[in-house]
Amino acid sequence: MTTPTEPYVLNIGPQHPSTHGVFRIRVVMDGERIQDIDMIVGYLHRSMEKLAEERTYTQNIPFTDRADYLAAMSGNLGLCLAAERLARVEVPERASYLRVIFAELQRIASHAMANGTLVSDAGAWQTPLLYMFREREKILDLFEMTCGARLTTNYMRIGGVAFEPPPEFWPALLELVDELPERISEYEELLTQNEIFIARTRDIGVISPEDAINGSLVGPALRGSGVPWDLRKAEPYCIYDRMEFDVPIGRNGDVYDRFMVRLAETRESVKIIRQAVENIPDGSHKTDIPLALRPAPGEVYGRVEGPRGELGFYLVSDGGPAPYRFHIRAPSLINLSLLRELARGASLSDAVVTLGSIDIVVGEIDR
């Protein structure tokens, strides 16, 4: 016999510090317990997929910047790989190396952001976030050096990359690569042994491997649950088959594991970048393709392992210069769908931390 209470509705968002963008959750709460949640997306909808049907394949690359705005390079890479398979374009080897370097840099930057905001959601007042921003800042400087933009890079092209990095890029990159393992160790010291942080994240938002597979989770959220699935290993693209790296997986599938998996993946990314820089061949960075690429009619699903997981692009060509259908399989949207199960019965604080650990980007959810 519990006290009869009246559930009430809490409207989290669209403007709320912990929704990571314009995203709304309608929470039915009983005291501090969440009874049910209702996720309402669409506040950032820009009709990307429809607009893309009016633009050429190259013109669509900027859309991928703005879909997952924290991992523009990965989005670029995904679209380019799909379009190249559709149009059967060969990519020079140097371009592949450059792509891998930038995609992994982007992964480090994105994971820094994800982990930083997760800890911010847990209540550490922005300090870890800003610490992690130091490295992200350097990576963004490298992007700026190379392609002039920091966030919406628009760097990759069908058939290669847009620009050769400037000469000062390489020493700066090496310096960063040397510095990063130290920094990552610093974060581990700062946070992974912190009693409060452990208390807030251990056994919170636990996803079993079965649930993860059923919920079609991807990326660190999936690996945090202990499922060893990484497209870079399972279905290597670019030059990932030549790289030595490990796939870290979590033990319990809780928030802490997802956090730790991201940190460990950052380490692996540094490894990959180092190998790529050491082995990068000389040559052209781009194959020339016609301005208006007209692939033969057909369809293709190209996918890459973005920072948030499997980022897929489904392209259908009718032989014209623009795709007949352009669909983005956004990892954030699909990972988010499990939040409802996780949040039910949890307290508000736990739900916020769980949401942070799933690491959504609203631009990608709404497209």
Binding site: M1, T2, T3, P4
Partner: protein
Amino acid sequence: MTVDLAHYLAVSGIIFGIGVAIALSKRNVVAVLMGIELMLNASNLAFLAFSRFSGAFQDGTEPLAGHTFVVFVLTVAAAEAAVALAMAVLIYRRRETVDLDRISVLRW
């Protein structure tokens, strides 16, 4: 213009009367408890007033027995409030109301 024992006793009596009126006439359990707290407070005021205005004892000690008594009243009031409000919550659980007019199973 002076203030003496009678004034304090008058204030105490008025507040006690208000407390009685509230305790007898309110429907809500919480409001009734408020009335009882008022009555206890009024008696505290009377105790302290007597203590202040009465002369010293024969042996010269200060007559702070009033203060001591008030300490006990405070204790009892705290205990009473805790238990009574717990009972109010319990009644609410059983019957989803704290309206005394409707909690009348023991009436006849």
